[in-house]
């Protein structure tokens, strides 16, 4: 179960980390879902055209980037309401992918393309003798191993670079940036583009793992990624933990379907319930914690 949880976690984490940048820059990116979907579609198409997994991931990333730029242009440059722009981008992805798919391949349904390579696993078959460690570290699909550097990189960029400082300042108070002659919109744009790349990449992992694109393959994971940002208290490591928690919660509900006599449909709400509980416990602990007596 740990093994699958880590596989499930990877896309959530990448999308969540990207979303974290947007969030810290003060832009609530609810379009993660649509960007993931676009990433998934583009990944399959490019992987099929090139026969390369890496190219597929790049394609997914670019698709996310494209939508993110649209988000920036309308939401930031044209000052539209970012929530509505987010909804619009989700709709745009949901509407235009079948449209393109139908035009390009004659189907709006499952898109099984020739030449899509299988996602390679790394460290397959390695063993330490401790099953837990093996499950965590070995044999995962290639994309999973991107997540650790991604967390470190996100932490480094956000906390230790001038860019990160400016980006965080943008989210807290854009006026301060303006008053020192910087344009907050640049940082919002950068943050959005990063979130687009994260979500696009996450989408590509989802699709390449399956080797096909199918409608709605993101299935709400963009929203969950958004939740991990808050649950992770807007820190990269926090997002990692939150994504893992959610993946484990999903793992529990999946496993429970086979064991418990509770109807499967009901168990589908388990991950959400567990996440709410985690949020409450966390906030309540912060409340009584060292802050105030």
């Amino acid at each position: 179960m740990i093994y699958y949880a880590i596989e499930v976690m990877a896309p959530l984490l990448l999308a969540g980390l990207g979303g974290l940048f947007a969030e810290l820059a003060g832009v609530l990116n609810i379009a993660l879902e649509g960007m993931m979907l676009a990433g998934a579609f583009a990944a399959i198409v490019t992987a099929s055209l090139t026969g390369s997994i890496l190219a597929g991931m790049l394609g997914g990333l670019l698709a996310g980037l494209l939508l993110a730029y649209l988000f920036y242009f309308v939401g930031i440059r044209m000052r539209a309401n970012i929530f509505i722009v987010g909804l619009a981008i989700n709709l745009l992805a949901a509407g235009s992918i079948p449209f393109l798919s139908s035009a390009m391949y004659g189907t709006k349904g499952v898109l099984r393309l020739p030449n899509v390579p299988r996602m390679p696993g790394l460290f397959v078959g390695m063993e330490t003798g401790f099953p837990l460690i093996d499950q965590i570290f070995f044999g995962h699909s290639f994309g999973v191993y991107l997540t650790v550097p991604a967390v470190l990189l996100a932490g480094l960029v956000l906390q230790r670079t001038p860019f990160g400082l400016r980006l965080r300042s943008t989210g807290k108070n854009p006026e301060t940036l303006r008053s020192v002659g910087l344009n907050p919109d640049h940082y919002r744009r950068a943050a959005l583009l990063i979130s687009g790349m994260g979500a696009g990449l996450a989408g590509s992992l989802l699709a390449l793992r399956l080797g096909v694109y199918l409608p709605n393959v993101s299935a709400g994971r963009g929203w969950i990624a958004l939740v991990t940002i808050y649950l992770g208290y807007k820190r990269p490591v926090g997002v990692l933990i939150a994504a893992l928690c959610f993946a484990l919660a999903e793992g529990v509900s999946v496993a429970a379907q086979g064991v418990l006599q509770i109807p499967g449909t009901i168990l589908l709400s388990l991950p959400y319930v567990l996440t709410v509980l985690a949020m409450i416990v966390y906030s309540a602990m912060r409340r009584v914690g060292p802050s105030d007596a």
Binding site: T161, P162, R166, S169, K172, N173, T176, P290, S291
Partner: protein
């Protein structure tokens, strides 16, 4: 025509403003009207004028912070112009250096943030100008005065040729004011141009070389400080059309202010206009006295392991003005929170008119009869995006309810009455953020004073007010006290405290050091108490133990 009044001297101009006109389209206010002004290097230039005269607007234009205006801004020799805004705003969760180095971050070889370099160069600068600010402190923990100093240092980091300070000393005690002045002089002596906006004529006379007076968006006159006097200045600010009698009284006030500055050790005369006021209780504890309207008993406040307030005792009687002063970071803002019900003490109790509040919220305190003018105007004191009227009726909202419905006609006439009474320049239907700093404060005052509460807590009531307004506030305070209202006046302005308060309590490191009454109320004594000098003499042993709990500034 104004230019001719300025002697054609040898000082090279740093910057010249030519025929500047600014209209705010939002409320259609012509804030600056055809103003021309030279800011010379090696000179401290004071810009004065009543609230809403257009000082801040003009200087924002000079610093390039307002995009649209008519006229020309020419740099002559100078390159960098920095403005320290009237209400400096920081990102509260970020550290001081992170706020100030934004945009000019030092980098390591790898392009990463060089925190150590930033902290070092900040500390060096702070040392050079003797402005004590800890670079790694989180900005939310800065007191208003510290924030002001930090903002000034932030401007200095850019090594400006022209430094504009918009009411920098408003939140500062004498001590901090002296530090700021020292910094300004040292800049001037290095050939920089410094502009000081202030309402305190004493400061103008003390530090400036040249003075420009603004009124209704126009420059009334520019003159050399040496050639003028406070009387002339205030006449210029108010305008010739002003009635003689009124300006007479004002001169009296101003002169007294100056008296205190030079006349060091003498005790201050009884405040003016106390006719009809009950004599303040000389022996508060004697059984013949009335019950206190407000009482603190052994209040302790601890947050995040830091002792902020310790063993506070306070008794306020009807008709009394109780002054609380100190350097702000020695606990003035925390006592404000305790007095207003904004923070719950860890131990001890508050009694309002003899009643214990059920909860420590402003709501309960107000129900028990408290009115409160906060230091923080922009967030706590005002809803900037609401209309001025909505800001005014906050406390009286129930009065305008009829069967739950809000009677807009009544509330409008109520607000325009307040506007008249307090001389507020504002359009009632427009958002609060269109007001000048002083007018915002007047709105807050008018709201609280319309309440007829038995207890009023004023915190820094005259910050940012021109002296006509601040005198009106002072009159208001005295009138209230004459009506038997108990007043707590928290102020870091010693002159204000001295001229108004019957008793003065001085805070130092979270405790009241001494209560000064009658003839004890001497400027220098207060100054020493604020700095903790007398405390350390009188109760050195006690102080030791306290210092151990009152940790300095934890890093981070």
């Amino acid at each position: 025509m104004l230019e001719r009044t300025i002697p054609a001297d040898e000082i090279p101009p740093g910057m010249e403003l030519r025929h500047i006109t600014k209209r705010y389209p939002e409320n259609d206010v012509l804030a600056v009207r055809d103003v021309s002004l030279k800011l010379r290097s090696g000179e401290i230039h004071a810009l004065i004028g009543e609230n809403g005269a257009g000082k801040s607007t003009l200087m924002k234009i000079a610093a390039g912070l307002l995009p649209s205006y008519d006229g020309e801004v020419c740099f002559k020799g100078a390159q960098v112009c920095r403005l320290v805004q009237q209400h400096p705003q920081f990102i509260p969760q970020h550290q001081v250096w992170e706020n100030l180095f934004l945009g000019i971050e030092p980098r390591t070889r790898w392009g990463l943030l060089d925190q150590d370099a930033a902290v070092q160069s900040f500390s060096a600068l702070a040392g050079r100008y003797a402005l004590p600010v800890a670079p790694r402190m989180r900005a939310e923990r800065l007191s208003a005065a510290q924030a002001q100093l930090a903002a000034i240092l932030g401007a200095l980091l850019h090594d400006p040729d022209i430094l504009i300070l918009d009411e920098p000393t408003a939140p500062c005690s004498d001590h901090e004011t002296a530090l700021v002045f020292g910094m300004m002089r040292s800049l001037r002596d290095n050939g920089r141009a410094v502009v000081l906006i202030t309402h305190k004529l004493r400061e103008v006379m003390e530090v400036s070389d040249r003075i420009t007076v603004m009124r209704h968006g126009r420059v009334v006159k520019s003159l050399l400080t040496a050639d003028t006097n406070p009387g002339e200045l205030s006449a210029l600010m108010i305008g010739e059309d002003c009635q003689r009698s009124e300006s007479d009284r004002r001169f009296g006030f101003v002169r007294r202010e100056f008296g205190t500055q030079s006349g060091s050790h003498e005790s201050v005369p009884e405040p003016v206009a106390r006719s009809g006021a009950p004599t303040p209780p000389t022996q508060p504890d004697s059984p013949t006295q009335p019950e206190p309207v407000f009482e603190l008993r052994n209040i302790n406040l601890v947050r995040r392991g830091r002792v902020l307030l310790e063993r506070l005792e306070l008794r306020l009687y009807p008709g009394e003005i109780l002054g609380i002063t100190g350097i702000r970071e020695n606990g003035l803002e925390y006592i404000e929170d305790i007095l207003s019900g904004s923070a719950e003490p860890n131990s001890g109790e508050v009694l309002i008119q003899g009643q214990r509040p059920s909860r420590y919220t402003p709501r309960v305190f107000r129900k028990l009869g408290l009115a409160y003018i906060p230091t923080d105007r922009l967030i706590r004191g005002a809803s900037l995006s609401s209309s001025v009227e909505d800001n005014m009726i906050l406390l009286e909202r129930k009065r305008f309810g009829r069967a739950g419905l809000l009677n807009r006609r009544a509330s409008a006439s109520f607000s325009s009455a307040l506007q008249q009474r307090f001389g507020i320049t504002a359009v009632l239907g427009k958002p609060m953020h269109t007001l000048s700093g002083g007018n915002m404060q007047k709105v807050i005052l008018s709201r609280e004073l319309s309440q007829n509460s038995p207890v009023v807590v004023f915190s820094e009531p005259s910050w940012g007010l021109d002296f006509r307004s601040s005198e009106r506030v002072h009159e208001e305070i005295q009138r209230l006290s004459a009506d038997g209202v108990g007043i707590v006046l928290i102020s870091s302005d010693i002159d204000e405290i001295l001229s108004l308060a019957d008793r003065i309590m001085v805070m130092y490191k979270g405790s009241f050091t001494r209560t000064l009454e009658g003839n004890d109320r001497v400027r220098d004594t207060i100054g020493e108490l604020m700095l903790g000098l007398e405390v350390e003499q009188t109760s050195a042993a006690h102080e030791d133990s306290r210092q151990s709990t009152f940790t300095k500034e934890p890093r981070q």
